[in-house]
Amino acid sequence: MKYMLLLRFELDAGPAEGTPEFDAEMAKWGEVMGELAQTGSMIAAHGLDTEATATTVRVRDDEALVTDGPFAETKESFFSYIIIDVPDLDTALGWAKKMPNVTYGSVEVRPLSAHEQDA
């Protein structure tokens, strides 16, 4: 059985970067991710950039509505993810507009974190 784990936190909750608590947590991440990889259960894992870098696309009456931020309707449920590698945001928004659910739901376009971009 395949599962997706969706990890969340509230901004500013959890230890701050540069503190010993932060370093301890990083060690813990390393431990659990290593353990997961060793069992052969890991398929993919990526960090995302903050919500402040997100853009949401909807198409209504053939008109594309592009908004700053994640702002999913509270009733909308998360049902799929696609990771793409394209030159810039306009190209990513172009693909987002082609997703069939965009006419009745929404597609959030969020960059992977800077660390993932270099990887």
Binding site: T50, A52, T53, A54, D68, P87, D88, L89
Partner: protein, 419 residues
């Protein structure tokens, strides 16, 4: 004014946008870093020019300092970026040495300034962020000035700009002029932001003064820049014509106490004939492209007002028809309200009131002051003084601008009792 101060002000006025635009291009579209390091370069000039004299080519001097700052900041980052390589090469082949002639071809600069505008007005940024970025990054207003202009605390404005600049970089909003299929939408997006800047200055939504001259001036400067860069775009010309023709009336729009004077009562001798002539000429060029749009229609309406030697000589049927055209292009209750006022002048108050009655008034529209002010005016003209008085009361309740409230109270005293 000392020679150094004068040179600084001239460089700031003439070179800011170009310096940021070109550097942002060299930095691969990092608009935030370009804006911050060009600001650093001007700060350095404030110290160095008075002490060591004004450099022979101020723009080149500022470019070199800004590039050095950008290189310093990029070197501090963990990974080596393509932007850093490019800048270091540019510094090695230094193309800005003091004796080199100015590059004769400025088309690259025009392209960079356009890229800067399109990036700052990208739809993935919140509208308020686009307005703030355009004022700060493109027009070069200090952050404190942008905060004051948009009635926002300075710390909030720093955060808003910081977040927008981070998004441009992190989400990689491209630094380019959009391609054909989306170009016209995106041009409209840029014009919309400039129009908003002007509107905010033209009728300040809050505060004590009706007009905020600083914002009007910046919007006009931006309008001229866009019309220069997009010289074949009818709507870019249309917006500039609209801004010029509207701004021409500015001096007459308020009395000595700062109270608004309605178009009907304005002293037309105080309208700026030069701006009207320029606006009319620009509108002519816009219409010559035979590609109609909302800003050209609004400019045409403003031109008809400008042409009329006095209120009674206004070509109301033509203005009413243009509002009809505007309602077709961009239907909205606001346009309908203006159309009602024009129709009332052309065909009588009852016809105008009938147009207003066609509006579906939801809660939001019910709180829109001009709806009540217009209805009051038309009711008064139709002889319904009680109705007019009630509508004026509601309009006054809804007004947050002190100068506008005073004017409404005066009109209410006149209209609510019959003249």
């Amino acid at each position: 004014m000392s020679e150094a101060t004068e040179a600084l002000e001239r460089a700031y006025r003439d070179e800011w946008t170009t310096l940021v635009a070109v550097l942002a291009g060299q930095l691969g579209g990092d608009v935030g870093l370009a804006e911050e390091t060009v600001a650093d370069a001007f700060a350095a000039a404030v110290v160095e020019w008075p002490a060591r004299g004004v450099p022979a080519r101020p723009g080149a001097w500022l470019t070199t300092v800004a590039r050095r700052r950008a290189i310093d900041r990029l070197r501090r980052e963990a990974t080596r970026s393509a932007a850093l390589d490019r800048l270091e090469t540019l510094m090695r082949d230094d193309d800005t040495t003091a004796d080199a002639p100015e590059p004769p071809d400025r088309s690259g600069i025009d392209d960079d300034r356009l890229r800067l505008l399109f990036t700052c007005c990208h739809p993935a940024l919140a509208l308020e962020a686009r307005v703030a970025l355009t004022l700060r990054v493109v027009a070069g207003l200090e952050v404190a000035g942008v905060a004051r202009a948009l009635l926002t605390a300075e710390t909030t404005m720093y955060q808003r700009l910081g977040r927008a600049k981070k998004k441009i970089k992190a989400a990689r909003i491209p630094y380019r002029v959009p391609a054909a299929p989306e170009l016209s939408d995106r041009v409209h997006g840029v014009l919309h932001v400039i129009h908003l800047v002007y509107n905010e200055g033209h009728v300040a939504s809050a505060g004590d003064d009706l007009v905020r001259v600083d914002l009007c001036r910046e919007a006009l400067r931006l309008g001229r820049l866009v019309a220069e860069l997009l010289r074949d775009d009818a709507e870019a010309l249309g917006l500039l014509a609209f801004l010029l023709l509207t701004d021409a009336r500015r001096a007459a729009r308020t009395d000595a106490e700062g109270v608004p004077v309605s178009l009907e009562d304005q002293d037309r001798g105080r309208w700026d004939a030069e701006l009207i002539a320029e606006g009319t000429e620009v509108l002519g060029r816009a219409l010559g492209h035979r590609s109609p749009g909302q800003f050209q229609v609004q400019a045409a309406i403003a031109a008809l007002h400008a042409e009329a030697p006095h209120w009674d000589a206004t070509d109301w049927p033509q203005i009413a028809a243009l509002y009809g055209e505007l309602a077709r292009l961009v239907p909205s209750p606001v346009v309908t309200i203006n159309r009602a006022a024009a129709v009332a002048m052309a065909d009588g108050p009852h016809v105008g009131l009938a147009v207003l009655d066609g509006l579906v008034v939801d809660d939001r529209l019910e709180r829109y002051q001009p709806l009540h002010a217009t209805r009051a005016e038309l009711l008064a003209r139709a002889g319904d003084h009680d109705g007019a008085a009630a509508a004026y009361r509601r309009a006054i309740e809804l007004t947050e601008n002190a100068a506008e409230r005073t004017a409404l109270e005066a009109r209410s005293r006149r209209g609510g009792t019959g003249r």
